[in-house]
């Protein structure tokens, strides 16, 4: 029987974290070296956690399927990272960042976690600057800031359009220094394919060496998953090609509850797809909305080029509908409105599948040089991909799947329902609710890795002093290794087969986008629930995997991941079906206001859906963690 104990400390929200840090158990500095910790993932969350844990004295093994930790998907984040520094003197505070984040998440996140995030946000910037992260500066030498969608203060720190890259390099370099001291052992080219438990507790992992194909196991006192999000279930997304749900899904099958799987964020400013061979969608940073004006032609049959369309014939739909936020409305609102105008037939571009993001006014006001200084690399990227010059014609943008707010359920200590198994960064569910504000994922990954997990993990480890980790010769390990080896080899021993893995992934993505995308309804979700298992069956029978399991085999790497996406997608549909309310990026057509805005139902759905695995052919069981809002009053979000 699973019980969801969130372990949220008592007391006023602003004091919870400090009180908690004082009351949880500590591991004495000289005893830390007696504990082994496995960290899976070297993105912002994993690298920062592994480096910080090693500095404390723990023995850390860190795993990634990349050749170098520096290539983790976090590297791609462009726009910036939030922190409640109030350097602009514009009324920001920890409380305001907390408030904006809870509201922005449409009241589906856990207040205590979000408050802690806002509190430590301040330390993150200090930590990164100390490491040498070259954040943008003013001429006087002070840090520069900008504002991001959903916020009315300038609290976003950035390093040109490469913020994620610089933050990750900072964390990777901290990790590299620990690798050099020997406190961290790095296992690159290692695909983690299972989580091992003994007597219900996490004790290790199973990996496949992607260069040799050998399957190995590793044991430790605790396992930390920092494996990122599941956006690639949609096939086309802004995520790196190798992002996947496998580690989280395998943990789910071992008893970790999966929370809010239907919550996916849709990013409003991506380059629209140009043809059927497209392999991924490219994000154009949301910061562009600070200076770009979004519009479509009023006339559906408009044929003139953008610069020939006079003001009166342009429909600046965000500015008209949401005068106080205008182009800076939160992502879900911006995305939904783009979909609406495109569905109405007002889309622009050869496939009529985009809206304009126009810099003409900014260029006229500030000059092309100033615009180039701010967004130059993004403009270059756009030009390379589309062959169009955004300085002279407006960009074309459309929403795309970008980030996942669901993930493994964790308590306040970031521990899953499997004792000893932690989930941090995008892999957990806790801080963003149904929607994520811009510049808050980087903040969460680093908060978890630098400032939360290193404290909370001690609470689990302290009582284990003197215990050696379960040896990898134990039956739980040998059986897990065998199971992974069998599962992996079965794909290549199959004869015949109709299509490669890519084909099935693309087919799955179409179903998920169509029925669990920006707008959902009951009939569509039922359809997804019948089509996904059928596709999964066909995939398992007919997928064609060539080559050998011994050595590098990119198809084989992918087939296990798509297999897990196939099971995950079904849970995602089931979760979306039971949530009969509109919330964040999850728009249930049955639940809308008379003006067509998302309508939340707090009476019935102010909870986290946490699903328990019941076996391969059984539907998962739903558990609910009720959400209480003591500090941020539940109100309908309005950006008018």
């Amino acid at each position: 029987m699973v019980t969801l104990d969130s372990k949220v400390p008592d007391g006023p929200v602003a004091e919870k974290w400090d009180n908690h840090k004082f009351s949880i158990k500590l591991v004495n500095p000289s005893n830390k070296r007696k504990f082994d910790i496995i960290v899976v993932g070297t993105g912002l969350a994993g690298s920062s956690a592994a480096a910080s844990l090693a500095e404390l004295g723990y023995n850390v093994k860190v795993f990634t399927y990349h050749d170098s930790p520096r290539r983790a998907h976090s590297i791609a984040a462009q726009g910036g990272i939030n922190a409640a520094k109030n350097y602009r003197n514009d009324g920001d505070s920890v409380h305001r960042l907390f408030y904006d984040t809870v509201k922005g998440g449409d009241y589906r996140s856990r207040e205590a976690n979000v408050h802690r995030l806002a509190q430590v946000s301040v330390d993150i910037i200090d930590q990164c600057v100390a490491q040498g992260v070259p954040f943008a500066r003013e001429y006087g030498g002070l840090l520069a800031n900008r504002s991001f969608g959903g916020a009315q203060v300038s609290r976003t720190f950035y390093a040109r359009g490469q913020t994620g890259q610089q933050l990750l390099l900072g964390a990777y370099q901290a990790l590299a220094s620990q690798i050099a001291t020997g406190k961290v052992t790095l296992y690159n080219h290692s695909d983690v394919l299972d989580i091992v438990t003994k007597d219900g507790e996490a004790c290790g992992i199973v990996t496949r060496d992607m260069l040799t194909g050998e399957v190995h196991s590793h044991s430790a006192h605790a396992v930390v998953l920092a494996t990122g999000g599941y956006s690639n279930v949609y096939y086309l997304s802004t995520n790196a090609m190798a992002c996947n749900v496998t580690a989280a899904w395998r943990a789910h099958r071992k008893g970790a509850l999966f929370a809010n799987p239907c919550f996916s964020q849709i990013h409003p400013t991506c380059i629209p797809a140009s043809d059927e061979f497209q392999s991924k969608l490219t994000l154009m940073s949301e910061s562009l909305r600070n200076d770009g004006r979004i519009w479509v032609p009023r006339d559906r049959d408009e044929t003139r080029s953008a610069d020939q369309i006079p003001e009166d014939d342009r429909y600046y739909y965000l500015e008209e509908k949401y005068p106080s936020f205008g182009n800076l409305v939160p992502r879900d609102v911006a995305s939904r409105n783009a979909k609406t105008v495109v569905d109405e037939g007002r889309g622009v571009g050869p496939l009529k599948n985009g809206v304009y993001l126009d810099f003409a006014a900014a260029i006229a006001r500030d000059g092309a040089e100033a615009v180039k200084e701010r967004y130059g690399n993004l403009f270059d990227m756009y030009e390379r991909i589309t062959g169009e010059d955004p300085y002279s014609t407006p960009m074309r943008i459309y929403p795309a799947i970008h980030y996942t707010m669901g993930g493994l359920w964790v308590d306040y200590n970031l521990m899953t329902t499997v004792p000893g198994l932690y989930a941090i960064g995008e892999a957990n569910f806790s801080d963003h609710g149904a929607n994520r504000l811009g510049a808050s994922a980087l903040m969460q990954g680093l908060a978890d890795g630098y400032f939360v997990l290193p404290y909370t993990i001690g609470d689990h480890l302290a009582p284990k002093l003197g215990n050696t980790p379960v040896p990898t010769t134990d039956a739980v390990f040998t059986e897990a290794v065998q199971a992974v080896d069998d599962r992996t080899r079965q794909w290549t021993t199959k004869k015949g087969g109709t299509h490669g893995v890519e084909y099935y992934h693309r087919e799955l993505g179409k179903i998920v986008w169509e029925y669990i995308g920006m707008a959902r309804n009951e009939a569509g979700l039922q359809k997804a629930l019948s089509e996904i298992p059928a596709l999964r069956e066909e995939f398992r029978k007919n997928v064609k995997v060539l080559g050998s399991p011994d050595g590098i085999n990119s198809m084989l790497e992918k087939v296990n991941r798509v297999d897990d996406f196939m099971e995950f997608a079904e849970l995602k549909a089931r979760d979306a079906l039971q949530r009969e309310e509109s919330c964040g990026g999850h728009f249930r057509e049955e639940s809308q206001t008379p003006e067509g805005e998302a309508l939340r139902d707090d009476e019935n759905f102010a909870y986290v859906s946490a699903w328990e695995w019941k076996g391969p052919d059984q539907p998962q069981e739903l558990h609910k963690e009720p959400l209480e809002f003591e500090n941020v009053k539940l109100t309908q979000r309005s950006y008018k």
Partner: protein, 256 residues
């Protein structure tokens, strides 16, 4: 619909580090000019799979020109013909219908071929581990604005830090030198006030580790031309100066 191209490809195939490699000649017909170079390879791979031929292995992940995973020699040029562009950001509209394109892996002793077009670039990580960081253990550092960093200094640090570690500089260099990569990291950290206390130790250790793996620099400048981030050659000069100073300073610090 975008225009379609018909191309002839010669792609390097090699089973492993110790196997013999050979070119595979394939026709790549009906490739949309809006496709990226890697999407073109995806299409070729799907067709190979249909014919029961193992697909070509190549490194890639973000497909946004930022992770540094991709990179092949295209007609002898690292990342292909377009300036300041990683392979994943190169689009087929830069080619003409009927072109023959030769695709090979990075060539450098320090980057052994793992399979087909994929090489092992872990030597770069060894250089970073030798000192490519500022020791600032997680804790409670001073307020970020307590250190003033003039905009020009922050901009220079950022120019250097923009390196994506793809290895094109090494692949393009006739001597397979890694000066551009190493100097970029050194310049990023050595120009910042936070980087000063470890500056000389960092410089000496990184340069010497680099020399253990890579060839020597004879100032050809090919690295800069191949670099998708246009990392400046000035950083190499900066590194050389810092290295000479480091040799002197480290000796006097050690009171020799």
């Amino acid at each position: 619909m975008s225009k379609m191209l018909n191309l002839k490809l010669k792609i390097w195939r090699q089973d492993g580090p110790h196997s013999q490699g050979a070119f595979l000649e394939v026709d790549a017909n009906d490739i949309p000019e809006d496709a990226s170079f890697l999407e073109m390879l995806d299409v070729v791979n799907e067709r190979l799979i249909d014919d029961d031929v193992e697909p070509i292995t190549f490194g890639h992940d973000c497909r946004e020109g930022i992770c540094g995973s991709c990179g092949v020699m295209i007609n002898g040029q690292a990342h292909g013909p377009e300036k300041a562009t990683a392979t994943c950001q190169l689009h087929m509209r830069k080619f003409n219908d009927g072109d023959e394109i030769v695709v090979e892996p990075w060539k450098a002793e320090a980057f052994p071929v793992l399979k087909d077009l994929m090489v092992d670039r872990r030597a770069f990580d060894r250089i970073i581990e030798a000192g490519g960081y500022i020791s600032a253990p997680t804790g409670t550092p001073q307020d970020a604005n307590a250190t003033l960093i003039p905009k020009e200094v922050a901009d220079t640090a950022m120019d250097a830090a923009a390196c994506i570690g793809c290895g094109a500089c090494v692949a393009a260099c006739p001597n397979s030198a890694a000066q551009l990569f190493t100097s970029a990291k050194l310049a990023h950290l050595n120009v910042l006030p936070q980087g000063q206390s470890e500056r000389w130790k960092r410089t000496e250790n990184m340069v010497e580790t680099m020399e253990d793996f890579f060839g020597s620099c004879t100032n050809h400048g090919e690295c800069h031309d191949a670099c998708p981030k246009e990392i400046s050659l000035d950083f190499i000069a900066f590194m050389n100066r810092d290295y000479v100073k480091a040799k002197v300073k480290n000796r006097s610090l050690a009171a020799q």
